[in-house]
């Protein structure tokens, strides 16, 4: 059980806060031991928040202002190895500066929780959201979750430590939060009490893997071709075990806090009987839901599937959600230069997931909202129109369309 060291939240209450602040509160409620900060917009608002909590004596943790993102992630990695609960984060190119440390954190099976405040990669510089930064961890053994509201940010942060630190899993957890739209936008959030969190979230116990003089282990010796494949496979097995743990923890969370979706992996919005299903991640959900609702009112059978966990990728659930649709319009707030069909990363993953299906829907890709450009309801309408046209004519003019972009 987490030590009750913060009296911030003796009672559950409602607060008007941003996504970053929601995660900062989760850090305090989870009694995180070590947090490392380095400035880059937009994720760093979470560090500004926890540093105030520390200064005011409301939250006790070792707070290290690192000299680079690489050190940020290295410091929490080593703190986690001695058994401390940890939190860090970054955005955009900062995430990439930390990439070596990010890579080894998963390889070492250290349950660091990190916030990725999604930001476009340089150059040219841009503050706005794009998903390519966080997505880069997709092959490394990190959990990768796309948050869509401040409430979800707080809830998933608590779930993140519990899942990541589970001895069946021990893999780090990245919470992806769209820059500005989530990191800086305020919403009403139900903040649980410390007692509620204590009964949900146990203390991190690293057990026989803890680096301590009482347990003198050697961590990460050189293995070469003798053992690397077996160790990779162990990590793979952990990643294959995590979906069941996520489901279990999510159900516990719903019981304890009384909120949550039917599935931790995906959110289906009006997908039942939909002929065209839009798919996207993060805060794109908001305009997309509005567009879908309006189209439904006009009699059009449209739905929206939000992919929440990008890793582990919920292949079967996504197959089931999409199998009745005739057309699927995948919205990517990211891009993969030179990839199949010159598309986005989510599109590649979804098309791959749908390949074993006997009846495959027509799948189109829409690149939208890069660099923080707002995705409008009319943009969503246009995606549905394009998909409908492909269904009507039985012909795909182009698989990938850049939406609302100057020619």
């Amino acid at each position: 059980m987490a030590t009750v060291q913060t009296q911030l939240y003796q009672q559950p209450k409602e607060e008007l806060i941003s996504g970053s602040e929601a995660i900062g509160i989760a850090c305090a409620l989870a009694d995180v031991d070590v947090i490392t900060a380095y400035p880059i917009r937009p994720y760093d608002t979470v560090m500004q928040y926890v540093s105030r909590l520390k200064a005011d004596g409301a939250f006790d943790f070792d707070y290290i202002i690192a000299e680079s993102e690489h050190s940020q992630f290295e410091i929490v990695k080593h703190a986690s190895a001695v058994g401390a609960r940890t939190f860090t984060g970054s955005s955009g190119v900062g995430w990439f500066y930390a990439f070596e440390a990010i890579t080894v954190t998963a390889g070492l099976r250290l349950p660091v929780v990190a916030m990725g405040g999604n930001r476009a990669l340089d150059d040219p510089g841009a503050f706005g959201v794009e998903h390519n930064d966080a997505m880069a961890v997709r092959d490394l053994g990190w959990h990768l979750y796309w948050v869509s509201t401040a409430q979800e940010a707080l809830d998933m942060a608590l779930i993140a430590w519990k899942v990541a630190e589970d001895p069946r899993v021990l893999l780090p957890f990245a919470l992806s939060c769209d820059g500005s739209f989530l990191t800086h936008s305020q919403a009403i959030v139900q903040v649980p009490s410390q007692d509620q969190v204590n009964s949900f979230l146990p203390a991190y116990q690293r057990g026989t893997l803890q680096l301590h003089p009482d347990n003198p282990i050697t961590v990460a010796p050189q293995v070469n071709e003798d053992w690397l494949m077996e160790i990779r496979k162990q990590t793979d097995e952990a990643m294959r075990r995590t979906p069941a743990v996520i489901k279990e923890v999510y159900e516990e969370f719903k019981r304890e806090f009384g909120r949550g979706d039917p599935s931790p992996f995906i959110e289906e919005y009006m997908c039942e009987d939909a002929e065209i299903i839009l798919v996207g991640m993060g805060t794109l959900a908001m305009p997309t839901r509005v567009a879908v609702r309006r189209m439904r009112e006009a009699g059009k059978k449209v739905g929206f599937l939000r992919v929440k966990f990008f890793r582990p990728f919920a292949t079967e659930e996504i197959q089931q959600a999409l199998k009745g649709a005739k057309g699927v319009a995948v919205i990517d707030r990211d891009y993969s230069y030179g990839s199949p069909s010159y598309g986005g990363v989510l599109f590649q993953e979804l098309r791959s997931a749908m390949y074993p299906m006997e009846e495959r829907p027509v799948m189109l890709n829409f690149i939208a909202g890069l660099g923080g450009r707002e995705v409008m309801v009319r943009d969503i309408d246009e995606m549905v129109e394009t998909t409908q046209k492909a269904l009507d004519t039985g012909k795909i003019d182009q698989e990938t369309t850049w939406v609302a972009v100057r020619e």
């Binding site: 030590t3 060291q5 009694d31 031991d33 070590v34 006790d60 943790f61 070792d62 290290i64 690192a66 000299e67 680079s68 690489h70 050190s71 290295e74 410091i75 929490v76 990695k77 080593h78 703190a79 986690s80 190895a81 001695v82 058994g83 401390a84 940890t86 070596e100 440390a101 080894v104 203390a203 680096l211 301590h212 003089p213 347990n215 003198p216 282990i217 050697t218 961590v219 990460a220 010796p221 050189q222 293995v223 003798d226 053992w227």
Partner: protein
């Protein structure tokens, strides 16, 4: 600040602890002085120690899966991360002990790096670690003067003119490494004035090194030791001469043995005798010509090398911090010092 362990100075060879915490299982080269640094370091520190080691010889050659030589807890860290590894380990322990999640106890935290990991890539993280007065930690840079594990490539700590696989003497250019070796320990001392302990060391003087490790671990706060490690593979000499070359590097005045304790500089060993005029510096040629990496040197190269060494003794040897040989005016020009 967390308390430190009781690690008294060792008064003679007979008092050196017999317990080994760096034992068989490593596969370092014959004559590897860096392996000796590891052994002496942990012998001085003792069992209640966590060691983190950055990528380099002392990772790759030491810790092969299923045959670790480390009896104490040991963990790998990335090449540029010795500073961050020390900080993270100390921070994790500190937070958990303060919050009652771990039993209170002073645990030594030592991070080591080679010259590539310390003097080059890890410089910024080491510097950051040395700013954290609240953590007791020791960073040891074992400097064999090249990236010796990856094929002997030049680092920022490789001597001027040395033949490495990245700086081979050729038909037109004799000296491909035109950089003078970085002055690492003074850089750390000058840049982090609140540090209580900085030292240089050499495993040829084992007891001295033992005691420097103990002083560092009991000084309180972050500390730094820079060791010079002769490397038969990287410097091209018969492995049996490692110790002798370590001594020669000091006797020629090229490497200077000292400690900076709470800002006060103290020379020790042969360096002290040289500064006091009790011993004369040997010509640097005696050191250079014993190593294949300087075999291409022309007489003017040796002359240049000697002049640079003379300069560091006669004009300065820790720029910005300490005047050269005692008795001379403060090189910084301050009158009221």
């Amino acid at each position: 600040m967390a308390t430190v362990q009781d690690l008294p100075q060792i008064r003679g060879v007979k008092q050196i602890p017999v317990e080994e915490f760096y034992t068989s299982g490593h596969r370092t080269c014959q004559g590897c002085e860096s392996a000796l640094v590891m052994r002496l370091m942990i012998k001085a520190a003792g069992q209640r120690t966590i060691v983190v080691g950055s990528t380099g010889c002392m990772y790759v050659a030491n810790t092969t899966y299923y045959s670790t030589p480390w009896v104490v807890p040991w963990m790998h860290t990335q090449l540029g991360s010795a500073g961050s590894a020390a900080t993270g380990t100390a921070a994790g322990l500190s937070a958990m002990m303060r919050k009652g999640k771990m039993q209170q106890e002073p645990i030594n935290v030592i991070a080591f790096c080679g010259d590539g990991g310390g003097v080059d890539m890890g410089l910024s993280a080491i510097s950051a670690a040395l700013q954290h007065e609240e953590y007791n930690l020791l960073i040891i840079c074992y400097d064999n003067e090249s990236y010796a594990n990856t094929d002997i490539q030049a680092s920022g700590s490789t001597p001027w003119g040395a033949n490495t696989t990245f700086s081979p003497p050729g038909k037109v250019i004799r000296n491909m490494n035109t950089r003078w070796k970085k002055n690492m320990a003074p850089m750390m001392a000058v840049g982090h004035p609140d540090m209580k302990y900085v030292a240089t060391a050499c495993a040829s003087y084992g007891l001295d090194f033992n005691n420097k490790v103990r002083r560092a671990l009991t000084a309180g706060g972050p500390t730094f030791i820079h060791c010079i490690d002769p490397c038969p593979k990287g410097r091209d000499y018969d492995p049996k001469y490692s110790h002798e070359l370590g001594m020669l590097s000091i006797e020629t005045g090229l490497w200077i043995q000292y400690e900076i304790i709470e800002g006060e500089l103290m020379l020790n060993g042969p360096s002290r005798a040289i500064a006091k005029g009790i011993r004369k510096r040997k010509p640097v040629e005696e050191y250079l010509l014993r190593q294949g990496r300087f075999a291409h040197f022309a007489p003017e190269d040796i002359k240049f090398f000697q002049e640079k060494v003379d300069e560091q003794w006669e004009k300065w040897w820790i720029p910005g911090l300490v005047p050269i040989t005692p008795g001379q005016d403060d090189a910084t020009g301050s009158d009221d010092a």
